[in-house]
């Protein structure tokens, strides 16, 4: 039996341009087109870009960003955000560098552990003590910076260069120097996250918590558990990104990943994840990270400095947030 029912909550009726319809119905396709257009534009500016090393460098840049943006995506889906991703990545890399003389395995495990612990503390603060995610993670970022500044003069004095294995996975390539190893790590992470978000109970809950936390609570789910899990996973991903980044630069310092905070949010927003939670996907974020990677390369070719890059990132985030709001009819 079917019953005719007019939709109660209608989308805001806007005169639909083709672009708007396309972006709403096939957001990934549109992002893919933007990515290709950017690659072509970059190739026009600098024809050598389409050679082996040009594209490889883009991926090399995009991979740690993409993993850090995975952390951001997961939290944004729950309606949260992590302002400490950059600092967690830095702290993890710092520990990994410091422990490198003990072997790459110990260095990586301890580095990841730093991320899980910091992320879990964020999760406990947000989930159990109801601290606003912005405040909690901003505070975590400040605490980590202070802590590691102090530790760098005492316990963590010593190695600031990383083990060879970390350098290889973070900065090396294979297949005739074509494919960076960090792209492999990123691919594995991507598969796990896309699967996890679509095909697991936790994935369902991450979206649900962001969409309507009251409903989730009334459905008999303990939201704090979901939040702690989300922040812990985000911490782990940020740490992994930090270690890859350390491998790429070869050495660690306390500024290593600090500049990645805005791009990590930008990649998720470009990919269509709503900062209000409940909507988005990691596939979108992957494209977002790649777009930012190409953009960075392009700006480098244009000889634009860090300052210009930051302005461009900020502008893109604002513009896209506006665009998505228009397309989905939400404010």
């Amino acid at each position: 039996m079917t019953i005719s029912n007019a939709p109660m909550i209608e989308m805001e009726v806007l005169p639909d341009s083709k672009w708007r319809t396309a972006l709403r119905d096939h957001p990934l396709l549109v992002l893919g087109i933007v990515l290709i257009a950017l690659v072509i534009a970059t190739a026009i500016i600098e024809p050598r870009y389409l050679g082996v090393s040009g594209l490889r460098n883009t991926v090399l840049i995009a991979a740690p960003l993409g993993i850090m943006a995975a952390a951001q995506t997961i939290l944004m889906l729950t309606g949260g955000i992590d302002l400490s991703v950059g600092m967690i990545a830095t702290a993890a890399a710092y520990v990994a560098g410091n422990q490198s003389p003990n072997g790459a395995a110990i260095a990586i495990v301890l580095g990841l552990l730093v991320g899980v612990v910091a992320g879990s503390v964020n999760g406990v603060g947000v989930g159990l003590f109801r601290v606003n995610p912005l405040i909690m993670t901003l505070a975590m970022s400040a605490i980590l910076l202070g802590l590691f500044t102090a530790l760098s003069f005492t316990v963590l004095q010593g190695s600031t260069t990383v083990a060879q294995f970390i350098k290889t996975i973070g900065g090396g390539s294979f297949l005739g120097n074509r494919i960076p190893y960090n792209a492999l790590v990123w691919a594995a992470v991507s598969v796990l996250i896309i699967y996890g978000l679509r095909r697991t109970g936790l994935g369902r809950l991450l979206y649900a918590v962001g969409d309507n936390p009251i409903a989730v609570r009334l459905a008999g789910i303990r939201i704090w558990q979901v939040q702690i899990a989300a922040y812990a996973i985000a911490g782990l991903l940020a740490a992994l990104a930090g270690i890859l980044l350390a491998g790429r630069t070869g050495a660690v310092d306390l500024q290593l990943a600090v500049n990645f905070l805005l791009p990590s949010v930008a990649a998720a927003v470009i990919g269509g994840t709503s900062i209000f939670g409940g909507i988005g996907s990691y596939s979108g974020t992957i494209l977002g990270a790649l777009i930012l990677g190409v953009l960075t390369t392009m700006l480098t070719f244009l000889d634009a400095g860090q300052a210009i890059q930051q302005i461009v990132y900020g502008g893109i985030v604002l513009g896209l947030a506006w665009l998505y709001a228009r397309v989905t009819g939400t404010s």
Partner: protein
């Protein structure tokens, strides 16, 4: 009865209408308030009383119709315009800013503190410290403060929207005294209440709204309480009575028992037993503590007193999780509280399957099957299944209910599940509730539509000011008998 000829009404409305989207709140309201009278505005839940008051106080704008003050047509485009026209309102909820002091609130609206103090003193509220934060003051005192503030505006018409609902008897008396004084000065009062006793005692005339229309304008003393109730109900029109009770299943063991539950001043010692296979109706006017009672039963709030027993064992819930784990589940008052509007119907229906961490690592194997089952059983229209928020209200409600079909439960707490839903869907929902009971579930059903209680329930209890005041077999319960009890009137008194 109309106003005596020759007397120009202080306020009159002509064919005032108002809709919110598809929902029609007011169809055609005719109201005449004479100078120097206390005029009651009556009507069942959802009849449009509060909407009318908000139009008359400039909060909403009418879609159609005309409002006249002393014969002059007025445009009440803002609250300030209403005050300028001599209309002041005390709303159902205090219109005060909680984080400011009393004095700051008054200054914010430019009201003379001395004047407010004079009125407060007359209502025995002289002890009020103007330096106290609003959030720290008890609700009854805030009602009086709101009233004093409205009086300080010296309105020719004072509108009181259920002011006595939150007041203890002695403070209500002060309000009555002030109302009488206001009348004696030649001003008028528009008085909204669910308590017919107050209408009989205080009001010169009454206008009754039903379904957004004026259906009567009478002198309460002439028609009596029963006459008012009749006017509020009108001829009772049932839709398709699709949910007629099936043969009564034998009532089983007690699944949920409430023992003397109390919560703040909202719920005062509620006890009942809910058996397997039974649908227990709860009838109440607005604001009798039913919201709080459901919150407590669903584990969303701890009771201050009393105990909840599930199958004889005590349930002390810290969160809804504990109640759900014991099979006590809630369909909340507002379906938007329970819906994931941006997620698919499937995700909405499957949500409770992931309540334990060990179920987080995959999608439940039987999710698809259970979801399909629920969709089928409730005939949910899945054409907009990708976003539950785009479903119609009725389908959204089905999704909220269907969630518990996928998860399984023993006790279903349903709070007004058919509010704003078309007749056909209503019948489906009630049909399902009967089926669930026949399968051995226990259902507690609060509904604001009293006419529907005999259609679905086995027994009905009446909640009044936070206590159960009456119980009737649902078969013989009528809207009139329920409404009478819900007004706190004992049935003998009317008969």
């Amino acid at each position: 009865m109309t106003i005596e000829p020759g007397v120009r009404p202080l306020l009159s409305t002509r064919a005032v209408a108002k809709s919110f989207g598809n929902v029609i709140a007011l169809r055609s309201v005719e109201l005449d308030v004479a100078p120097g009278e206390i005029h009651a505005l009556l009507g069942a839940n959802g009849a449009g009383k509060s909407t009318l008051v908000k139009i008359l106080s400039g909060v909403y704008q009418a879609d159609a119709g005309d409002v006249e003050v002393e014969g002059e047509s007025v445009r009440l485009s803002t609250p300030a315009a209403a005050v300028a026209a001599g209309l002041a309102t005390v709303f159902q909820d205090p219109a005060l800013i909680p984080d400011l002091t009393v004095g700051q609130n008054l200054r914010l609206t430019g009201i003379d503190e001395g004047e407010v103090r004079v009125w407060l003193e007359r209502m025995d509220g002289a002890s009020l410290d103007f330096g106290a934060l609003i959030r720290e003051l008890p609700l009854p005192l805030l009602r009086l403060l709101d009233l004093a503030r409205a009086l300080a505006l010296e309105p020719s018409l004072l509108m009181l929207d259920e002011i006595t609902a939150a007041l203890p008897a002695d403070q209500a008396e002060h309000v009555f005294t002030v109302m009488e004084e206001w009348r004696s000065r030649g001003n008028s009062v528009l008085f909204i209440t669910h308590r017919l006793g107050e209408v009989m005692r205080m009001c010169d005339r009454a206008t009754v709204l039903r379904d957004g229309r004026t259906v009567a304008s009478v002198a309460p003393q002439e028609v009596g309480e029963s006459g008012l109730v009749e006017a509020m109900l009108g001829e009772v029109v049932h839709g398709e009575p699709g949910a007629v009770r099936t043969a009564r299943a034998g009532v089983g063991q007690v699944l949920l028992e409430a023992v003397d539950i109390g919560s703040g001043d909202k719920v005062n010692g509620v006890s009942f037993r809910l058996h397997a296979g039974e649908v227990l109706g709860l009838a109440a006017l607005e604001g009798q503590g039913q919201d709080r009672l459901f919150e407590v039963l669903a584990g969303d709030r701890r009771p201050d007193r009393g105990e909840i027993l599930v199958k004889g064992a005590s349930l002390r819930a810290r969160s809804p999780y504990d109640a759900v784990a014991r099979g006590v589940v809630l369909v909340p008052p507002d379906r938007l509280l329970a819906l994931l509007p941006q997620r698919s119907v499937r995700e909405n229906l499957g949500l409770p399957l992931y309540d334990r961490i060990r179920r987080w690592f995959s999608v439940a194997r039987d999710e698809k099957e259970k979801v399909a089952d629920a969709i089928d059983r409730l005939s949910i229209d899945t054409r907009a299944a990708r976003q539950a928020g785009r479903l119609s209200g009725g389908n959204q409600q089905k999704v909220v209910l269907g969630r518990w079909l996928t998860a399984g439960f023993q006790v279903l707490l349903c709070f007004d599940p058919t509010r704003g839903i078309d007749v056909r869907t209503k019948a489906q929902i009630y049909g399902l509730i009967r089926e669930l009971a026949a399968d051995g579930a226990a259902v507690l059903l609060y509904t604001s539509e009293l006419a529907e209680i005999p259609l679905v329930c086995d027994r009905v209890q009446v909640l009044y000011r936070g206590s159960i005041v009456d119980e009737q077999p649902a078969e013989s319960a009528t809207e009139e008998s329920l409404l009478t009890a819900a007004h706190g009137i004992r049935s003998e008194e009317v008969a």
